[in-house]
C-alpha cells in the first residue's frame, strides 16, 4: 500500500508528490490524461508570481508582501482568505530554489513581458518544460506514476481517507491522499448548469471555449461535495478571459489571447460598445473581458482597431479580418453596416486626444459618450481596419473545497486527518474572483508543497500511533 496517493498530474500534484517523497513517504501519482497530455493546465502556464524584498536572480526591483497582498485584494474585491493568501505570498519568496533542485529553470523575462519582470519569475520554455522537469524528478525519486487513470470515487469514512476507486472499478488504498486534479471547466454539462439560461433563452456556457486541458471534468470535486465536503466559491467564477473566437475548443492556451482590446473599441453583435476598453492596462483588465463577453447576447464581441495599432500589441495567432473601410469590416463580421459606422463615428468624435502612450495610463480619453474609454482613446480613422472576434475562454473554475493552512479537506468544519487538497481544487479559497498573472502557479506550488508535507506527516503520525499501540 502506498503511503500517499496523489490524484492529478499538474504542477500542484507534482509539488505535493515530490514534497511527500522528500518527507519519506512512498507516493503514487494518478494522472487521468495519457502521457502526451499530462500536466493539466500547468502546461499552459509560464510564470510564478513571487514576492521579494530586493532584486533576486530573475526578478528585478522589489515586490514586497504587502504590495502582493494589495494586488490580490484588489482583483478579488476582498473575496479571499488573508491567512492562506499570506502563507502563499511568503512561500513564493523562497520556493524557486526548491523548484530548481527538481530541474526547473528560470529565465529573465524577455520581449513583450518586461512589465512583469518585477512581479513574475518565468520558466524557461514555459509550463510544459516545468511539468516535464517535475515528472523526471519524480521518476528519479521512485515515485510511481500511472497515466490514463481516472478517479471516480474517493472513499472517505468519518472524514478519514481510505481509498480511491477508478473508473474501471479498481480500488487503490493509501494511508493518505492529496487531491490536486483541477476544476470542472471542461465538464460542459456542469458549466451549462452553473451558468444557466439567460434572459434571451440562451445557454451562455454553450459558447465558452476552454483554454486548458479537456481532462478537468471535476469528477472528484463533485464526488467530494456529494459526500459533504465543505465548499467555497461561486460556481460561475473562474479565470475567464476574452480569446479569439476561432480558437480550438480545448487547449488553445496562451496564443489565443488578444491584447489589442485597449487599442481600439469592442462592439457586440449589435455593433455597439459595452465597456470601457481603456480602463486599465491589459494584463490587469484582461481577466474581466471573458465575463463581459459572456454577458453579451450570442456570447460574442469584436475588437476593432485601425492601422495605428499595428505593431503595438503581441501578434495574434489568427490573422485579422481586414477591410479598407469600416463598412467592409461590418460586412465581413455580419454586423449592421450603418450601426457600426455610427458607433465608430460617435466614438471618434468623443475622443479627446492628448499624448498617446500605451505604457502609462495616458490622457487620451473620451468625453460625453457611454460607455467612456478612459485611456488610449484614439479615433479609429486610419485604414486599413482590422477586427478580431472574441469569445469567453475559461482557464479554470474557482468552485473549491474549503481548506486551512494544513491543506486539509473539511467535512462539517472538521479537518480530515489524512485527506488534503491543492491547486485549482482549492484556489477558490484565495481567489474568490478575478485574477492576476502567475498567481495560479503560486497557489498550486505553495499549497502543493503544503499538502504533500501534511500527507507525509499524516503517514508518520499513523506509524507512530501504531508503534505506541
Amino acid at each position: 500500500m502506498f503511503d500517499v496517493i496523489v490524484v492529478g498530474g499538474g504542477n500542484a500534484a507534482l509539488c505535493a508528490a515530490l514534497t511527500a517523497r522528500e518527507g519519506g513517504a512512498s507516493v503514487l501519482i494518478l494522472e487521468s490524461a495519457p502521457i502526451e497530455w499530462r500536466g493539466g493546465n500547468s502546461v499552459h502556464t509560464r510564470n510564478l508570481r513571487c514576492m521579494h524584498d530586493a532584486p533576486q536572480d530573475v526578478l528585478v526591483e522589489a515586490y514586497p508582501e504587502e504590495e502582493f497582498w494589495q494586488d490580490l485584494l484588489k482583483v478579488t474585491g476582498g473575496l479571499t482568505n488573508e491567512k492562506l493568501a499570506r502563507i502563499i505570498i511568503r512561500g513564493t519568496s523562497t520556493v524557486r530554489d526548491w523548484m530548481r533542485k527538481h530541474g526547473v529553470h528560470f529565465q529573465p523575462s524577455l520581449s513583450g513581458t518586461l512589465h512583469v519582470a518585477r512581479t513574475n519569475a518565468f520558466f524557461m520554455g514555459g509550463g510544459k518544460a516545468l511539468v516535464n522537469a517535475f515528472f523526471r524528478s519524480a521518476e528519479q525519486l521512485g515515485i510511481k506514476i500511472r497515466y490514463e487513470t481516472t478517479v471516480k470515487h474517493v472513499n472517505v469514512k468519518d472524514g478519514i481517507f481510505e481509498s480511491v476507486v477508478l473508473d474501471n472499478g479498481e480500488v487503490i488504498s493509501g494511508k493518505s491522499c492529496v487531491l490536486a486534479c483541477g476544476g470542472f471547466e471542461s465538464n460542459r454539462e456542469w458549466l451549462k448548469e452553473a451558468w444557466g439560461q439567460n434572459e434571451n433563452g440562451e445557454w451562455p456556457a454553450d459558447n465558452f471555449l476552454i483554454r486548458g486541458t479537456k481532462f478537468n471534468r471535476g469528477d472528484v470535486l463533485k464526488n467530494l461535495l456529494d459526500q459533504g465536503a465543505d465548499q467555497i466559491g461561486d460556481v460561475t467564477q473562474g479565470h475567464c478571459v476574452a480569446i479569439d473566437a476561432r480558437s480550438p475548443l480545448y487547449d488553445g492556451g496562451i496564443c489565443t489571447r488578444l491584447d489589442c482590446v485597449s487599442l481600439g473599441i469592442v462592439v457586440n453583435q449589435f455593433a455597439k460598445r459595452f465597456y470601457d476598453e481603456g480602463e486599465d492596462f491589459w494584463p490587469k483588465r484582461y481577466a474581466i473581458w471573458g465575463r463581459l463577453v459572456a454577458l453579451q447576447q450570442g456570447q460574442i464581441a469584436y475588437s476593432i482597431i485601425d492601422s495605428k495599432a499595428i505593431g503595438r500589441f503581441m501578434p495574434p495567432v489568427f490573422s485579422a479580418i481586414k477591410g479598407n473601410t469600416i463598412s467592409e469590416i461590418a460586412q465581413q463580421l455580419n454586423l449592421d453596416v450603418d450601426q457600426l459606422n455610427q458607433t465608430v463615428n460617435e466614438f471618434n468624435q468623443s475622443c479627446h486626444v492628448g499624448t498617446f502612450n500605451h505604457n502609462i495610463l495616458d490622457d487620451c480619453h473620451t468625453e460625453n459618450i457611454a460607455p467612456e474609454k478612459t485611456h488610449w482613446a484614439l479615433p479609429i480613422d486610419q485604414g486599413p481596419f482590422y477586427a478580431y472576434p472574441l469569445r469567453p475562454g475559461i482557464t479554470f473554475t474557482y468552485l473549491s473545497l474549503k481548506t486551512d493552512e494544513t491543506a486539509a479537506v473539511f467535512f462539517n468544519e472538521q479537518a480530515s486527518p489524512n485527506l488534503f487538497v491543492a491547486g485549482e481544487l482549492m484556489a477558490g479559497n484565495v481567489l474568490g474572483k478575478g485574477y492576476t498573472a502567475g498567481i495560479g502557479m503560486s497557489i498550486g506550488t505553495i499549497f502543493g508543497r503544503i499538502a504533500g508535507q501534511s500527507a507525509a506527516d499524516a503517514v508518520k503520525k499513523m506509524k507512530e500511533s501504531h508503534a505506541h499501540a
Binding site: S111, G112, M124, K128, D251, F313, M314, A437
Partner: protein, 382 residues
C-alpha cells in the same frame, strides 16, 4: 537570354513559398503569439523581431535552428495538440530545401539528400577501385617496400593536384551557394563585432545549450550535453585532420621535409588526435541520430545524415589504420581506401549535411548583425 529566363524562373520559385516554407510560416505565427520558448535559442529571439515571415526569413531562421528539440518537448502546441506545432521538424524540412535551392549543380543536391549513404559509399568505392587498379598496375596489389613511402605509389605532385583541384571546385560550389543564400536573407551591412559573436556561437554551439547550457534533447525531454560533445569531437577532429594535411603540405613545399613523418611529428600528432576525435564523434552522433525522438527533425533526411557520418567515420578509421599499418604490405591498399573516402567526401561536400555548417554559420552571422543593430518590433504587453 536563357540564363536570364532561368534567373527569372528561379526568382519566381523563390517567391512562391513551398509547402515546407508555408508550414514554417504557419507554426511561427503560433510561436510568435505564444513566445514561451524565447529563452531557448537564437531562432526564437529572431522570431520576436518580426511580426510576419517572408520566404527569406524562413530560410534564414531554418538555418539558425540547431534542431536541439528543446522547443518541441516544451511545446504546449506540439502534436497531438490541434495546432500541431513541431518547429524542429518544420525547420529541418526547409533546411533541406536550402541545401537544394542553393546547391550547384542543383540535381546533385537532390540525389544526395535521398541517397546520401549509398551515394557517398558508391562514389568512394568507385574511386578506391580506380586507385587500386592504378596501384596494381604500377606496384602490384600488395606493396613490397615497407618504408611507408606513399609517394612510391602515387607521386606527391599528382596527389596534390588532383585533391587540390577537387577541393577548390567544391569550396567554390559551396561559396556560390552560401553567397546566393546570403543575398536572399540579408541586406544589412557587415559588422565586425557581429562576426566575432557569430564565430563564438559557431565554435561553442551555444544554441545547443537549451537556453540554460544543460544541453539539448535526444530521445526524451531530459537535457543532454552529448550531442554538443560529439559534435565538438567531430568538428574539431575534422579541423585537426585538415590542419595535419596543411602542415604536411607546408613541410613538403617550404621546408622540403617529405613524408613519411615520424609518429612524434606535428602532422602525425595532429592527424592522430583529430582522427580519434573523428572516430568517437561520428559514432556518438550516429547513436544519437538513431535513438532520437521520432518527432525530432525530418526522418526523410536520415540517409543524408547517416551518409555524412559514415563518410567521416570511413575517412578517420581508414586514416588511423593507414598510420598503424604503414610499414606493412597492406599500406598500398589502405592508402587507396583512405584517399578514396577522402575524395568521395570532398565530392559530396556541397550537396548535403556538410553544407549545414556553412549555411548555419551564415545564419548565425545574420542573426548577430540583427542583434547588434538592436532590431526589434515593440509590442505592448504580454
Amino acid at each position: 537570354m536563357l540564363t536570364l529566363n532561368t534567373l527569372i524562373a528561379d526568382a519566381k520559385n523563390f517567391n512562391q513559398p513551398s509547402e515546407s516554407v508555408m508550414e514554417v510560416q504557419r507554426v511561427l505565427q503560433i510561436c510568435n503569439a505564444c513566445r514561451y520558448c524565447e529563452g531557448f535559442c537564437a531562432t526564437f529571439q529572431s522570431m520576436t523581431r518580426r511580426l510576419d515571415f517572408n520566404v527569406a526569413d524562413v530560410h534564414f531562421m531554418a538555418n539558425l535552428c540547431h534542431n536541439c528539440g528543446a522547443c518541441l518537448h516544451a511545446c504546449q502546441y506540439a502534436p497531438p495538440n490541434e495546432f500541431g506545432v513541431n518547429i524542429p521538424q518544420a525547420m529541418a524540412k526547409v533546411r533541406l530545401e536550402t541545401y537544394q535551392t542553393y546547391a550547384w549543380p542543383k540535381q546533385l543536391g537532390s540525389i544526395y539528400q535521398k541517397n546520401g549513404l549509398a551515394l557517398t559509399m558508391l562514389t568512394s568505392i568507385a574511386i578506391i577501385l580506380f586507385l587500386l587498379s592504378l596501384q596494381t598496375s604500377s606496384t602490384g596489389l600488395f606493396n613490397t617496400n615497407t618504408d611507408a613511402n606513399f609517394y612510391a605509389i602515387f607521386p606527391h605532385n599528382s596527389l596534390a593536384m588532383i585533391f587540390g583541384s577537387v577541393f577548390l571546385v567544391m569550396v567554390l560550389a559551396l561559396t556560390l551557394g552560401v553567397r546566393g543564400f546570403w543575398r536572399q536573407v540579408s541586406t544589412d551591412p557587415m559588422m565586425l563585432g557581429a562576426a566575432k559573436d557569430a564565430t563564438l556561437d559557431m565554435l561553442t554551439l551555444k544554441n545547443l545549450g537549451g537556453g540554460h547550457q544543460q544541453g539539448c534533447n535526444e530521445a526524451d525531454d531530459a537535457f543532454s550535453l552529448w550531442r554538443r560533445r560529439f559534435h565538438h569531437m567531430t568538428f574539431y577532429g575534422f579541423l585537426l585532420c585538415f590542419a595535419a594535411t596543411s602542415v604536411a603540405t607546408l613541410f613538403h613545399y617550404f621546408l622540403g621535409w617529405e613524408a613519411p613523418y615520424s609518429y612524434t611529428s606535428l602532422p602525425v600528432i595532429l592527424g592522430t588526435v583529430g582522427g580519434l576525435g573523428l572516430i568517437v564523434g561520428p559514432i556518438g552522433l550516429l547513436c544519437l541520430n538513431l535513438n532520437r525522438h521520432p518527432l525530432h527533425g525530418d526522418a526523410a533526411q536520415k540517409p543524408m545524415d547517416i551518409g555524412f557520418i559514415a563518410s567521416l567515420l570511413a575517412i578517420s578509421v581508414s586514416g588511423i589504420a593507414l598510420l598503424a599499418l604503414r610499414h606493412t604490405p597492406l599500406m598500398g591498399i589502405l592508402l587507396c581506401v583512405h584517399l578514396g573516402f577522402v575524395m568521395g567526401f570532398f565530392l559530396m561536400m556541397p550537396y548535403g549535411k556538410f553544407a549545414h555548417g556553412i549555411f548555419r554559420s551564415a545564419a548565425l552571422l545574420k542573426n548577430a548583425i540583427e542583434v547588434k543593430m538592436g532590431k526589434s518590433v515593440s509590442v505592448g504587453s504580454d
